[in-house]
Symmetry: D2
Subunit: 261 residues, 4 copies
């Protein structure tokens, strides 16, 4: 597949990075990232010293900081740059990169990010990209459920959902989950809720990100009452039918229509 797209697949990591100026990785968890870079025959060991390492995986801020440290110890440059924007963003080239690390390095990497996405946002020093993503996604998880509650309450009180969406969109309850990614089927075109909650960002991936938020807040002693409850609710939804649907399908759990589907 990579070949068809013009890529040049490598047999081993060592092989792949030997003559590279930069490398970009995107893996499923922090352990994989730490092994890819720090492991035997890994990127740090086998790459030229001037290489720029860019990790776009979504992992814990503490794991990203550990990767930065490994890179620094071996004299390599490292950026953590998780993406925001979902599957559709990847296909449409509208991804955002939330970058953490040395600011000059991020400037250096801007053209690389620009080739793949729409925006590069500098979040701060080592791990800050991951920290910013964890904060954004926790808030997204909360506003999506909050929006679902407001819309379901409005419906039960007899309000028209389109009208309610318009009203709140121009009032203080306004948020992205309401005005751009509405969870109620039929309000907006081209969002998952109007396509049976297919595509988009699956509930189980949202749960992965919320797991990182729980872990991070537990480590640093931050208090996240709504974030923790949101996590519980997505987990309940994961176990009652929503695991593979877009996370906005939490509207079904909240509104109580899940059994009829």
């Amino acid at each position: 597949m990579l070949k068809n797209a013009g890529g040049d697949p490598a047999i081993s990591v060592a092989d792949a990075v030997r003559n590279c100026d930069w490398v970009l990785s995107m893996l499923q968890n922090g352990q994989q990232v730490l092994e890819l870079y720090g492991g035997a025959n890994g990127v740090l060991e086998c790459s030229p010293e001037h290489i720029l390492c860019i990790d776009c995986s979504t992992i814990a801020p503490s794991e990203a900081r550990a990767a930065h440290e490994l890179a620094q110890q071996s004299g390599r440059k490292f950026i953590d740059a998780p993406v925001s924007g979902g599957t559709s963003g990847a296909e449409l080239g509208t991804l955002s990169f939330l970058a953490g690390g040395d600011k000059a390095l991020v400037e250096l990497a801007r053209p690389i990010f620009a080739a793949m996405g729409k925006k590069t946002l500098y979040a701060g020093p080592a791990g800050a990209g991951q920290s910013a993503k964890v904060c954004n996604n926790m808030l997204l998880a909360i506003t999506m459920i909050g929006t679902s509650e407001a819309m379901a309450l409005g419906e039960k009180l007899g309000l028209d959902s389109k009208t309610l969406t318009e009203i709140i969109s121009s009032s203080s309850g306004r948020n992205w989950s309401l005005d751009t990614y509405n969870p109620v089927p039929g309000i907006m075109e081209n969002v998952p809720s109007s396509k049976g909650y297919c595509g988009g960002f699956p509930t189980e991936l949202m749960i992965k990100d919320l797991g990182l938020a729980i872990e991070a807040s537990n480590e640093c002693g931050a208090n996240i009452p709504l974030g923790a409850l949101a996590t519980s609710l997505y987990r309940l939804w994961q176990n009652t039918g929503g695991a593979h649907l877009d996370f906005s399908s939490i509207f079904r759990l909240v509104s109580g229509v899940c059994e009829e589907q």
Copy 2:
């Protein structure tokens, strides 16, 4: 005071409405509204039959519907039109009216609303104005706490609050509480958080509105897990120092800085 402003104070309700084409009321609770209109010597009894009654109080949707019914029985026209926009909105003339009742009547009343505020949003039939307000304010209560959690978590993870605000403002966690009314002191000018949480919309009024949301959801069987938890948190904050501060001061409770203040 009313006289100084050019008004014409009346001795009794009966006196006040006897020759009016329309009347506008703004009271503290539903019982007061029902008494003002339906009580002995009240508006409905003493006003000319063509009068248009506009109630701008924030009361329960069910109470607003009861007021509509009383008006209908006496052959009078009624609109429920709670305002959105807080004290500053009232002073600056930027209030929004969320209007419920007969659509033609709301059109008729538009000039009256226009004289006092910026926008009139038609929400639907009798009580819909109140229902829309209850939904918006519950969502606002949630997004404010969610935003506070995300900002406090970011701070503890070492992020700069201004940078985090900018990043989330252009990402999927975007919402009014973050990009227009940021709860973290020093991020924005002219919002309560930068003025010691003075002015604005006090926590205890938010609790009043959330009480209406709890009541409405309990009556219609809607499920509001985050809304209910938000209510609990504002009540805890009310009892630990936040009653009279702007509701965005919930950031203090969430971030744990309340004891130091």
Copy 3:
């Protein structure tokens, strides 16, 4: 059915109470109770003045107080005495009565309660029986979910459920939902969890009682964070398959086994 059991069915309320020394009622909601007693041709109007009215319905404390007042105005004696103990308690004669009203009256009624149940607990003045029931059942709702969380967590951590039950039963987490009505199938005999969650106290009745707790706390300004969340969780479970099962089946929702059933 009543006839078969030796009862004497009446054609109307008036008929039924005309020559009674006491009357006992058990209805579904407060409106029905207020109508039965205070309505036209109701108990208060048609009964002899010395009648003792005992209402065993589960209704709001405020509604019970309203019924007491109606009775007092008509010179009749009234006791609110909701029952605790579920369907099985009714069949086995092990019900408890939580009685509110004049203490001397409750003493007078003791033999009546004794004929039907095991215990009569005096809770306090008018409405106190309902208040005590609302407090007990809210706490029960919470401890049942808490117990389910602890048991499910233990299971996932590899603990044997019977062993964990024994350990907590002799430790500080001990509670009735754990040591007498365990929600995990197979731990105890003769409890709903070991009979497919059939019989017992259905989730939807627990939700009715929690609705009364929400209403009461909203009226008196009490803060019930866990009580409110428990209500949300039972409502989610009602909508995902648990409405008619015993309320201890919330263990299925919490442990995530609901989809496999």
Copy 4:
């Protein structure tokens, strides 16, 4: 101090364990435990091969399993045995030990536990003692808040707190926090609530244990909605004055009396 009590203080770990048949440790966190046993000049390196290691610290189940593994690799015997019962239990000799590891070993160690506490409960294989403690304490944290909510609601509804305690103690809401460690001042003698919430088990230690529950549930994918909310509430209370008070002082936060104190 140890000398005065007849103990024999050692200069180093190596020194202390060189000729021991068993060693018992009680430290503050898992890292310390892993270092004590597995570190250079640690217990495993310096002790005779037949030594029995008993760790009574409260640490994460996964950390306890890691310690077991280290011991096994070095051919030493290990038991995890956190205690339950608080400071007063330690003084009065009424502690319980929740033991995990090889069953025969735990039997072997029974006399050692018996010399210090009242009960030894076998929880299961390696780490099970920690797992059982985490489950019990999370449930305790929940029932304490639930009990506080029920008692505070009852008070606001006009019930006498002693009467309500008696009623629920003989009903289905019954639990240890209510009938043995009541959080309302003046209900019971010799419990922290009647001594200004001094002594007992401080809020900040409960928060430590809840952090372990959050961590464990996050790792194994268990859903703990009430456990997570309870954690948030104790953290709020920690920041508003309750850090060093017994955890039953959460009653102050819930009932809203905290500001008056």
